[in-house]
């Protein structure tokens, strides 16, 4: 039987000097669902997912992926297990073509098999609607397209868990609609963890929501539960959802 949770954390904590970015976070991520991680600026969302994928070492606490304790694995090993991560601040290879950007992401798994790399790159670029720009230099793209490329590089890895750090930041309305469609098309086979400020996107995509505040879990549940939660309303939704 396959476990319900693809990833769990126990007492995950990060201190930057005296600043407590994350304190004792126990978190469960359900397989095949879209989970949104929300919270005010500085709540520690990026730090938290950074510790999941190994980008930042945790001060203490443990991370389990598919039942395996991955707390001591370096970032590249965790990614190799099937975790993909997209950066909050766009981080593409700005000097290379889109094609090569996505190929680098695909090649790690597919290696020397040139045919399947090419095939993967083509299908991913088509999926996100960037096929006609394949030979452009990534740095010449508009900001929105670079964000989409960032997502394409995640997709090219065929992740089991896809962590997206504020993917819709700076996207236009139509691009956001496309993004929501894309996420919905992935749901089911891929587990998605989404950090998101845009409450509309959260409500349209998320099956589960976890709210962080001051580096701690404030609440977890379905969108309805979170919507009704008074503590959450006081901390966050009260202003953002009505806006």
């Amino acid at each position: 039987m396959v476990a319900v949770n693809i990833l769990t954390t126990k007492g995950l904590t990060k201190n930057y000097g005296g600043i407590k970015a994350n304190t004792d976070i126990d978190f469960e991520l359900q397989r095949g669902k879209v989970t949104a991680l929300i919270g005010p600026n500085g709540a520690g969302k990026s730090t938290f997912v950074g510790m999941l994928c190994g980008r930042f070492p945790a001060t203490r606490g443990e991370v389990f992926f598919e039942g395996q304790n991955i707390s001591s694995l370096p970032a590249h090993k965790r990614i190799q297990l099937g975790i993909a991560y997209t950066f909050q601040i766009t981080s593409v290879y700005s000097g290379l073509t889109l094609l090569e950007n996505v190929a680098i992401a695909a090649r790690r798994r597919l290696g020397k098999d040139f045919a399947s790399v090419t095939e993967k790159v083509d299908s991913v670029l088509a999926q996100v609607g960037l096929s006609d720009r394949a030979y452009q230099i990534a740095g010449d793209l508009s900001y929105g397209h670079q964000r989409v490329l960032e997502i394409a590089m995640g997709l090219a890895q065929d992740p089991r868990l896809f962590i997206l750090d504020e993917p819709t930041q700076g996207l236009a309305e139509t691009e956001i609609d496309d993004f929501v469609k894309l996420i919905k098309s992935l749901a089911g086979e891929t587990t998605i963890l989404l950090i998101e400020h845009n409450m509309d996107v959260v409500m349209r995509t998320a099956d589960q929501i976890t709210v962080l505040e001051f580096g701690k879990t404030l609440a977890s549940g379905t969108p309805d539960e979170i919507h009704r939660n008074e503590a959450v309303q006081a901390a966050y939704l009260g202003t953002a959802a009505d806006a």
Binding site: A75, I79, S91, Y93, L96, I104
Partner: protein, 314 residues
């Protein structure tokens, strides 16, 4: 894969052109070109690390000198024949670059430059310190009688030119293959955005170490070949100057291009050669040309060609 074919044709024709030069050029230039080809091998080794991986080492003279002394001392002190001595030179450079890479890669950026520079200085001082064996600054001559490969005396102009061309061709084609391989693409990815590459699941530290070792070993083989073909090993080749030379050659020719090293080495060699016939202050002329090139062709000659005309250049 039209670009791959173009690239093969280009590389093979450059080797062909260099072979033809032997019959066309007067003896003086043939001698120069033998030297340039060996030095270009050194530059190609440097380019793997600097041009493709984006790591600037200021201590490559250490690898060049390691290969040179590995071969030189094997032949002179232990009376080993040229072929195994060549292998020993390569192995020494391999080991030294593995150790230096392991230590220096704990740093990055400016610190990496300084650490490699310091290691090279330490290497230079070590050569001087053990002057009894290395003959220090004065160096030693490898006797002409010993300089034979497979029964061919390589001290003659013809044999020397074609030995140099052989070595150059092997490394030239090897690097063309390397930069098209997944490994080549990955080190370029590290150069462009290391954190991104790490977060795509690549072990960047291991790739960088491999790049240092490949780069250092090629540089060492160039050093060994230089000693063998020109019959001399000396501490001068371990000085900072010899760490800076490959940087200049590669920058001028075009960092991160397969053609850059040979173009840059030819250019710089003749720039100094020609300007020194005009004035004693030849380094001044060389300096001005360097400044102009950096201003107007910051990507080097081959880099500029790639940008303007041949976008497919590897």
């Amino acid at each position: 894969m039209v670009n791959a074919h173009r690239s093969y044709i280009l590389h093979i024709s450059i080797i062909g052109m260099l072979a033809a030069m032997f019959f066309i050029l007067p003896a003086y230039h043939v001698g120069n070109l033998s030297r340039i080809m060996v030095l270009a091998v050194y530059a190609m080794g440097f380019n793997v690390l600097f041009g493709y991986t984006g790591l600037l080492s200021l201590g490559h003279a250490l690898f060049f000198a390691t290969g040179m002394y590995g071969l030189g001392m094997a032949m002179n002190t232990f009376n080993i024949a040229a072929e195994p001595a060549m292998l020993i030179g390569g192995i020494c450079a391999f080991l030294v670059s593995a150790v230096i890479g392991f230590l220096a890669l704990r740093t990055s950026g400016v610190a990496f430059m300084i650490v490699t520079l310091m290691f090279a200085q330490a290497g230079y001082l070590t050569i001087l310190y053990f002057g009894a064996y290395t003959r220090g600054d004065e160096g030693f001559v490898i006797p002409q009688a010993d300089r034979m490969i497979a029964g061919i005396d390589i001290t003659g102009e013809t044999a020397r030119y074609f030995s140099a061309l052989f070595l150059f061709s092997v490394v030239f084609l090897l690097i063309m293959y390397l930069v098209r391989s997944p490994f080549g693409h990955t080190i370029v990815a590290i150069r462009e955005n290391e954190e991104r590459t790490r977060m795509l699941g690549y072990d960047t530290v291991r790739h960088k170490l491999a790049a240092v070792i490949i780069s250092g070993t090629i540089s060492g083989i160039a050093g060994a070949a230089y000693a063998l073909l020109f019959g001399y090993a000396g501490a001068t080749f371990a000085t900072v100057q010899y760490s800076i030379f490959p940087l200049l050659w590669v920058l001028l020719g075009g960092a991160g291009t397969t053609l850059g090293p040979i173009i840059g080495t030819i250019f710089m060699f003749y720039l100094i050669d020609l300007s020194s016939t005009v004035t004693q202050a030849y380094m001044l002329i060389a300096g001005v040309v360097l400044v102009l090139l950096t201003l107007f062709a910051p990507q080097g000659l081959a880099g500029e060609l790639r940008r303007r005309v041949f976008k497919w250049l590897p």
